[in-house]
Every structure is written in structure tokens, then in C-alpha cells.
């Protein structure tokens, strides 16, 4: 006998993500899900960002890694509360953060008074694209050292992201990366994706990223009031 089921595998995740969303909304938090391959510079970008926001905008961080607290330790001195999630305390943990992990982290991160929350996902261009966690915006980072062909190899990540931070632009000329070809490849998978070029190391482009954050937070806040 055939039993019809027709249920999406990620429904359970999306329900929890919606609950997370409500918790963030209740406190007026604007939430960024920051995704990239390992080594693209997510943590360095966050260091820069928190440094600039410190004293102006109250920020919190949920830090996702398979193992260890190296990233959380780097961010801890920057004045923002940081909660570390390890996807598995043993080797071979999950390759992404899911909504349940974020829900658990919310037991430790006091949302009250936070205006912006950054969720630094596990370094991976594949799986995090699939899992909603309750964010307002998905922001992906690609560094020029990874090559200009990545939009064609990881199209889903480029399709779901609301912003692409092109990092390590200070390395252009030293690595194989053709900026025009990269823009063309982005256009082939998601022509509406805005790109901000920056260098977290030198600080170039950070102003444009901060301006984007401020503008998008205002849009999200407006949407919440209407809703």
C-alpha cells in the first residue's frame, strides 16, 4: 500500500527558525547569517565590524565551529557578548548551523538590548545555504584567493545570499582572480546580488559594509513595525 507523505525534510528546521525569528523580533534584533568557505575572513571581518560598532551599536555574536573556541576567543575582547556553538564536541560534527543550534544558543545570549546579532556559520559554501536559522539577511563572504569561478561551483549559496562581501581585495594581482570574469559569473547565477569589495586586513571597503548594515537594519525594522 502506498502512503502519501509529501513533507519537506527541512520543515522541522524552518519551524524552529520561525520561532528564533520571533525571539529576535521581540527584542528588535537585526540578525545576519554570515557564511563562507573556511579561511575567507569571516572572523576578521567581524573583528573589524565589532570594533567599528563598539560604543555606537550594541552587537552580539553567535559563533559556529565544528570544534574549539578559537574564533570566540578572538572576538571576546571587542565588547560584544559572544556565544560559541560547537556543532559536535567530538570530531566529525555537522558542517552547518541549523535552527535548533541557534535556539539552544539563545539560552546563553541575552538578546535584551542587542540591536544586531551576527551568526558566524561553519566554514562551508554548500550546506549552510540550505538551513534557515531565523536570520534577517544572509551575507556570504568570498575571498579573491578562492578564485573567480566559485559562483558557478556553489550556485545555491550565491542564489540565497542577500549580499556578497568580496574580501582580501588587497591580494588582487597576487592571486589568480579576474574581477570582470567574477562579476560575469555572479551575474550568471544571481544578477541581483550586490557585491561589496573589501579588505578586512586593511579596512578598505568596511565603510560600505557598515552603511549596508545600517540601511538593511532600518528596512528590517520598518518591516517589523508594519507587520
Amino acid at each position: 500500500m502506498e502512503v502519501s507523505v509529501l513533507r519537506n525534510v527541512l520543515d522541522a528546521n524552518d519551524l524552529i527558525a520561525a520561532d528564533n525569528r520571533k525571539a529576535f523580533d521581540a527584542h528588535g534584533c537585526f540578525v545576519i547569517n554570515l557564511m563562507s568557505a573556511p579561511g575567507s575572513g569571516k572572523t576578521t571581518i567581524l573583528e573589524r565590524t565589532l570594533h567599528h560598532l563598539n560604543g555606537r551599536v550594541r552587537a552580539g555574536v553567535i559563533e559556529g565551529d565544528v570544534l574549539g573556541t578559537l574564533d570566540a576567543d578572538r572576538l571576546a575582547p571587542l565588547g560584544a557578548p559572544v556565544v560559541q556553538i560547537n556543532t559536535d564536541p567530538h570530531f566529525g560534527g555537522e558542517c552547518h548551523l541549523d535552527a535548533r543550534m541557534i535556539r539552544n544558543a539563545l539560552d546563553q545570549l541575552k538578546l535584551e538590548g542587542l540591536e544586531i546579532v551576527f551568526i558566524e556559520n561553519v566554514g562551508n559554501l554548500v550546506c549552510p545555504a540550505e538551513f534557515r536559522v531565523g536570520e534577517d539577511r544572509k551575507v556570504m563572504v568570498l575571498s579573491v584567493a578562492e578564485g573567480d569561478d566559485k559562483p558557478l561551483k556553489y550556485p545555491l549559496m550565491f542564489r540565497v545570499s542577500n549580499l556578497l562581501l568580496l574580501n582580501k581585495v588587497d591580494l588582487e594581482g597576487h592571486v589568480e582572480f579576474d574581477s570582470a570574469r567574477f562579476r560575469a559569473n555572479v551575474a550568471r547565477v544571481n544578477p541581483g546580488l550586490p557585491v561589496i569589495e573589501l579588505s578586512a586586513r586593511t579596512g578598505q571597503g568596511i565603510d560600505a559594509w557598515l552603511a549596508w548594515l545600517e540601511a538593511e537594519a532600518a528596512v528590517a525594522k520598518g518591516g517589523r513595525h508594519v507587520g
Binding site: 502506498e2 522541522a12 555537522e94 558557478l152 551575474a187 550568471r188 547565477v189 544578477p191
Partner: protein
């Protein structure tokens, strides 16, 4: 890479959909869109690993892979996306909506008449 958690999700949904707690399931059918990056072989491997300890013991996982289809927002043409380009083959527009390719769905279960009893 995330096949383990996807497979656990499939099993949870399938077990929850059993018509009777003692139903014996011969197969579970799922649809996997090609854009998800989920590898069907890995999914079957995890299913073999995880299902014996569940009411789905003995069932096979049938995977239907769904191609990526696009719909051009500018010229309204529907097309297959089998190269790595999401641009419209008719007019070159990059503003393309996805019709399929992101499926991760449990479609149905096949149960046998036989009902397992006791141990």
C-alpha cells in the same frame, strides 16, 4: 555533506507518517533537487546505517533526483539548467526564478500487507 542530518529528517518524517505503529515499510520515496547538492548515494548509505534501529528496518530508500528548471522573469520561457549558468537561453536575462531543483521532500511510503507483531 549534510546528508546525515537530511537522512535523519527523512526517517523522522517517514516514521511519523506510518499508518499504524506496526506497519512494515518496504520503501521510502524521496525527491532530491539537484541544486541542493545532496548526494543520493550518501543518503542511501546513511539510510542503511540509521534505519535498522527504527520502524523502517528493512526498507529501501528510493531517490528521485529532480533537475533544475528555471523560468525567465523577463521573457517567460521555461528551461532546464544543466550547465552552470542560470541565465535565460532565449533572451540572456539573469533574472530567473527556480521552478525546481531545491526539493528535499519525503513523497511516500510503500507498506506491505504483512504486519509485524510482537518482537
Amino acid at each position: 555533506m549534510h546528508e546525515l542530518s537530511i537522512c535523519q529528517g527523512i526517517i523522522d518524517i517517514a516514521v511519523g507518517a506510518l499508518p499504524l505503529p506496526m506497519s512494515r515499510v518496504s520503501s521510502v520515496s524521496v525527491k532530491i533537487g539537484r541544486l541542493t547538492g545532496v548526494v543520493a548515494d550518501s543518503l542511501r548509505y546513511y539510510f542503511e546505517l540509521l534505519s535498522p534501529a527504527t520502524p523502517l528496518a528493512g526498507a529501501t530508500l528510493r531517490v528521485e533526483e529532480v533537475p533544475i528548471r528555471g523560468h525567465c522573469a523577463d521573457c517567460a520561457v521555461d528551461f532546464d539548467i544543466d550547465t552552470l549558468s542560470f541565465t535565460c537561453p532565449a533572451c540572456g536575462s539573469g533574472f530567473v526564478d527556480l521552478l525546481s531543483g531545491r526539493e528535499l521532500q519525503v513523497v511516500s511510503l510503500e507498506t506491505t500487507e504483512e504486519v509485524a507483531c510482537g518482537s
